[in-house]
Amino acid sequence: MKLSKSLTKNINTIKQKIPSQDVIYYTFKTPNQTFCTIYIDSITDKAQVGELLIRPIYALNPPDITSAKSSLQIANILTVSTVNQLIGELLKGRTVLLCDGCDNGLMCDFLSFQMRAVAEPPTSTVVKGPREGFNESIKTNLSLVRRRIRVNDFNVEFFEVGKYSKTTVAICYIASIARENIVKKVIDKINQINIDGIPDSSYIGKMIVDHKTSLFKQVGSTEKPDIFVQKLLEGRVGIITDGSPIVLTVPYMFTEDFQTAEDYFISNYRANMQRSIRLISIFLAVFLPGTFVAAQLFHLQIIPLNFLLTIVNSIKGIPLSPSFEMFFTLLIFEILNEASVRMPKYVGMALSIVGALVLGDTAVKAGIVSTPTIMIMALSGICLYTVPELVDSMSILRLVYLMVAGSIGGYGIVMLSCYLLIYMCALDNFGVPFLAPYAPSISSDKKDGIIMEPLPNMITRPQVLKSKNKRRIKIKEVR
């Protein structure tokens, strides 16, 4: 539907299409003409509308929209000629200028949102290294990325996702590095999304993965621009969603979560130690409760004699079976964990006291649970948080292992591990094996695996990503 030459008719049409009361229609007259600016109150910078749009129009007194466009000194100014286009742009937050007697209008960008400042993200703090983090504005986020990649083949493609939310989603990649079929697949998957709204990037993440019911995450995520850029430089494709501080990267591999940005800023010996600790911690977190229960119930021989005597003394008089006791303690831990996240901060202290003293100490003294069980549960709980990205999947696995170990013992743990290994080995996302660079084994990629080599030795990008440009370091011998 084309715009009419009558200003009143156009205004009425827009009012009919958008009956919302926060749409402002400001009609003003110059000596020669009648103009109307239309904008959404909550997302427009009104001072800028007055200073950069209305005041110059008053001063220059243009007879029509074409003259107004040439006389205004505003960047990113566009002409609209249809009602649908006008409404679409208006809802995105643009300001529209209409003129009586003209069948077109102008669109200017005076968008203004309330947003957080760029700050260090709480989920990935570092001792050494950049402290900037993404926020909820896609423009700010892109500016943080642009500051770090200054090449002409850094591509950003915008998409509008969500039937009602019309959320802006940006796909970022470096054209000379990223593999074309991965970029194409991501674009296709995003185009296929048909959903009411996208409140957070995790929605995008869940919609684009191949295995939608998988226990393991299949999309990388970060809140830090330095990590994001590093992943783009390896040949991955990034997805930035408006309204979310968490950006996504694909393809994702399991080892990524054991790597932190700080590993590359510190000595590689220290980094190796930290990565190994993370891996061991995850193993302890998942296997320790189940193994302890299996050992108590079925395989007492596995426990050294002195430790066995300690356990025997501490479980004397405990009314619950070892598996139920561990399950009960795990349940309490998960409840405390959930409550501490949801509870207002000013009652946090009370929660700690109740958790540590009442539930922990008193339960042991009352003979409901044993000390080794509390210790093992606490250790497992702490270990899990060494890799925060894996908490979701690993806490469920811990529970499953506990149930299997309590039912059929150590061989159950072995079989479940076999199943998991087959499952993880079979998992591919965006054509990249989930357990690479270990299964399949890729020697050059292992340089940045659980054990990392010094940075100058990582000459090639991850081979598993099959990037266009394979080499990332060219060392010139300096004499």
Binding site: F298, I408, G409, G410, C418, C425, P440
Partner: protein, 359 residues
């Protein structure tokens, strides 16, 4: 058949990770019973046979441009291909059965004394079925992980047992040869003959420089570890070796260090059980693949269900009668294992020309 879904590294890892595990549970006591202190002699015979087969397969693979066995037979005669693959399906089914019973015995004997074993062991078939559906590609990837567990497990077992061994209990290599060695070797084919797996991997990996050498070394080294295991086993238990039915559980119990650190060998056995599940699954996967090919199916789900259910049924019926099963194998199945394992691979020579696409 899919090309390049398994890598040469994975073939090597597969031999290293899984070759020793089916041979170190009950076979050592059977060897000790038949050959006594000369139990290494049949091992040398079996090693020689396997290495000849392996070298033959590497040679014809290079000569024929790494065509798959099925393609070679199919080019000669589609009916022949289907028939041969059906026979191999039965062959692998029978080859899988003994290790499965052994694995069950290992679990029963080592870990569970009070619990009824059925709910503990039988879920293992679900894992095998899952692996059968996923196929060789996943098996290859799994082997890259499992090789670490096998090396750790075997390393621990050797470390805990080698100091209690009296190697003088074994005879010198040359002395005391008689017929018991070859006869024992002939009656133990179902535990060995793992080189045959390579026949079914042909055409699935890219031949590279020194691939043959790598495969040869990765077969020879774990086999040497098996020979060492048998020697240690006999060196520890000497004339009472035949009475130690589950060698893997028994071999390290005399270690002094266990007094201080608890049954550490138990952990090693658990670790080896982890790799063991995959090692008993390999012949089942091969059986499923052969049945799928012989029936001309695209997906292996139905053959996997058939084979796994059949094995489950056989295990439920006969696992308690292990000695009788062994006697049956010895009496009736030796020719089948000899023909399928060492003679039928010669059919690969039918494919005389190199794969044109490959060239």
């Amino acid at each position: 058949m899919q090309k390049n879904d398994i890598k040469i590294k994975q073939v090597c890892a597969l031999f290293i990770a899984f070759l020793p595990l089916t041979k170190i549970i009950t076979a050592p006591s059977v060897f000790a019973l038949n050959c006594g202190e000369k139990l290494w002699q049949p091992l040398i015979i079996l090693l020689s046979l396997d290495l000849i087969l392996l070298l033959f397969l590497i040679y014809v693979c290079k000569k024929n441009g790494n065509k798959s066995f099925f393609n070679v037979l199919n080019e000669a005669s589609p009916t022949l291909a289907k028939g041969v693959f059906f026979i191999y399906s039965i062959f692998f089914l029978l080859k899988a059965f003994i290790p499965i019973i052994e694995h069950k015995q290992l679990i029963e004997y080592s870990f569970y004394e009070t619990l009824p074993l059925a709910p503990v062991f039988y879920p293992c078939f679900a894992i095998i079925f899952y692996l059968c559906i996923k196929g060789f590609k996943v098996l290859g990837r799994v082997s890259e992980f499992a090789v670490v567990f096998t090396l750790i497990g075997l390393g621990l077992i050797f470390f805990l047992s080698v100091f209690s061994t009296d190697f003088s209990a074994l005879l010198p290599l040359i002395a005391g040869s008689n017929k018991s060695g070859p006869i024992t070797a002939l009656n133990a084919l179902w535990w060995f003959n793992d080189a045959i797996y390579l026949l079914f991997f042909l055409g699935r990996f890219d031949l590279q420089k020194k691939s043959g050498l790598k495969i040869f070394a990765s077969y020879l080294l774990p086999f040497c570890a098996v020979i060492l295991f048998y020697c240690i086993f006999y060196g520890i238990f000497t004339y009472v070796s035949p009475a130690q039915n589950v060698a893997l559980s028994e071999i390290s119990i005399f270690s002094v260090s266990l007094v201080n650190v608890g049954r550490f060998d138990y952990v090693a056995t658990f670790i080896l059980c982890f790799s063991g599940v995959f090692s008993i699954a390999i012949p089942v996967v091969c059986s499923v693949k052969c049945l799928t090919a012989s029936l001309g199916l695209n997906r292996s789900k139905i053959p996997a269900i058939i084979i796994c259910l059949l094995l489950l049924l056989l295990t439920i019926l006969f696992s308690a009668k292990y000695t009788a099963v062994l006697a049956f194998y010895t009496k009736y199945l030796t020719p089948l294992f000899l023909i399928c394992g060492y003679i039928m691979p010669l059919l690969y020579l039918l494919g005389g020309k190199k794969d044109v696409q490959k060239v």
